[in-house]
């Protein structure tokens, strides 16, 4: 199946959210904290049941079928004492749901190696996962999620707590994976700036509702104003896009560098820069 559609409508946290993801697409799920991004992800994963609406994966309703959706959680506490190498964790992505011990097999090993290569993590394959840095753990978790060949890969705020260099590295990696493995990659972020160079489409969330489409079609005054239910201006300025609320005097433009800036999400709905990739 090439088409992969996700449709759901919840009542409160998510209100009538609908969008479609296609294989090979890199899609950003953008919104301030509390907009409903994590809730949406948990619904897609089946960790939460939607009050209304449906989720179709490969044209069929999502079941508890393991492997259709890969998931990389926002942060995961890995004990440095945990006796688990990076490659063991990747292997558990392949058959962690099966009973008994994993039997050593050449094809299993080759597949784990291939996934480690895909995320540039061959050199840390033998290290304990708990001793790896945040960025390295994330790459291992991406390999863990990818190895079951999912149709859809979800990443919850993968850029949080990363420095700029690792941020760009992870974004480039995910864009390449979406293209090469022909899977839909849905990545949530409160900051769309780092994603702009590679993002095929955007799902912009505010107040539990969403607008989706090509970035230029969604990040516009009229679309976002309707989404927020109050007037919003999208200002492109020196290669940056500022999304600001309010009209006329006292326009409160938040022009910080983006990291951790959700002081007042009602007044300032996001800061977006373009062309800095």
């Amino acid at each position: 199946m090439n088409g992969l559609s996700v449709r759901l409508g919840g009542r409160e946290v998510l209100h009538d959210v609908s969008f479609t993801l296609r294989r090979g697409e890199f899609v950003g799920l953008i919104g301030a904290n509390g907009a409903g991004k994590t809730t949406l992800m948990r619904v897609i994963l089946g960790l939460l049941q939607p009050a209304a609406g449906e989720i179709l994966i490969g044209g069929r309703p999502r079941g508890r079928r393991a492997g259709a959706v890969g998931y990389v959680p926002q942060k995961i506490q890995l004990d440095p004492d945990m006796p688990l190498r990076a490659r063991d964790l990747v292997g558990l992505g392949l058959d962690g749901n099966r009973l008994g011990f994993p039997l050593p097999s050449r094809s299993r090993r080759a597949l784990v190696d291939e996934m480690l290569r895909a995320v540039n993590a061959e050199h840390i394959a033998q290290a304990r996962v708990g001793n790896l840095s945040g960025g390295e753990q994330q790459r291992i978790l991406i390999a863990h999620a990818l190895i079951s060949r999912p149709a859809l890969l979800l990443l919850d705020e993968p850029l949080a707590n990363l420095d700029i260099a690792s941020e760009q590295e992870v974004v480039a990696l995910l864009a390449r994976i979406a293209r090469e493995q022909q899977i839909a990659v849905l990545i949530s972020a409160h900051e769309m700036n780092p994603l702009l160079p590679v993002m095929d489409r955007i799902v912009y969330m505010a107040k539990g509702r969403a607008a989706s489409g090509p970035t230029d079609d969604v990040v516009r005054d009229d679309v976002l104003s309707e989404l927020y239910g109050s007037h919003v201006d999208v200002i492109r300025l020196h290669g940056r896009i500022l999304v600001v609320a309010g009209r006329g005097d006292g326009l409160d433009i938040l022009a910080d560098d983006g990291h951790g800036h959700d002081a007042d999400p009602a007044a300032t709905v996001g800061t977006v820069r373009t062309g800095t990739g």
């Binding site: 994963l45 089946g46 960790l47 508890r64 079928r65 393991a66 492997g67 959706v69 890969g70 998931y71 959680p73 995961i76 890995l78 004990d79 440095p80 004492d81 945990m82 006796p83 688990l84 190498r85 063991d88 964790l89 558990l92 992505g93 058959d95 962690g96 749901n97 099966r98 009973l99 008994g100 011990f101 994993p102 033998q126 290290a127 304990r128 996962v129 001793n131 978790l141 863990h144 999620a145 079951s148």
Partner: protein, 302 residues
Amino acid sequence: MGGILRAIFEPGFFSSGPVHVALLVGGVVAVVCGIVGMFTVMRGQSYAAHGLGDISATGGAGSFLLGISPIWGFAGTSVVAAGIMDLIGVQRVRGRDLATGIVRGAGLGLAALFLYWDTTRTSTTGAPVTILFGSLFTINSSLIWTIALFSVAAAGLIAVLYRPLLLSSVSADLAYVRGISVRVVGVLALAALALAVSLSAMTIGAILSTALLVGPAATALRLTSRPGPMMAWSALISLAATWLGVLLAYDSYYWPALPVDHDLGRQGWPVSFFVVVLILIFFLLARARRDQRGKGTCSAPS
């Protein structure tokens, strides 16, 4: 060569019936505890295991009053207590420790009462020592099949659940996404732990039972970074400590008597003492080896 062997294995070691039973039962229980203990340590359930051990003392003491084998008392109370722990909710560490602490305190209080009755109202004056500190040399050989059954159940549960349990221990969310019922896996693992605790209580005693579950696994953690070999090391260390403990306890009968022994004649030292001390020695050796290799320090597992 023969002289050295005779010095190590005092006369009659290989022909003694109680030694055979001790080696067989102790060996099986050691391997099971090593296997189950790996996940106990990995999942940070050492304190829960300790609580189950203490609570199992209540059942063991009660079984003397009822005139049944302590293994049923150990296993019964420990499995029921594991169920209660799960019901109370063990999601948060603090809540789990408080629940364990409270249930365990009440259990030990009851154990004190039952042991008092054991010694005053029945003829089993050795009950407190048997329950609290084990009875490897006096295990009734008719219990071998019961112990074998419990062992197969505990180790079998862990073997069957190995991969889902491993992934659940890493992250409940990741496990769920892979289609694993994290709750069911957790309850079954706790049941395996309860069975292993009751087996350990039979061999080295209810109070010391956690030593066999936590010590070898904690040692194995320092020897390898991989889950499979960790399980193998854990079982091996546990087995070595138990068998060496049996040997030393047997030999201790021939050691020069302590001054306090004169009135009573020759007395051997308790096997539980040797097992626990050997586990500690193995742990310290592994720790020293790891520090020496400069592979970085690890905090002691709780």
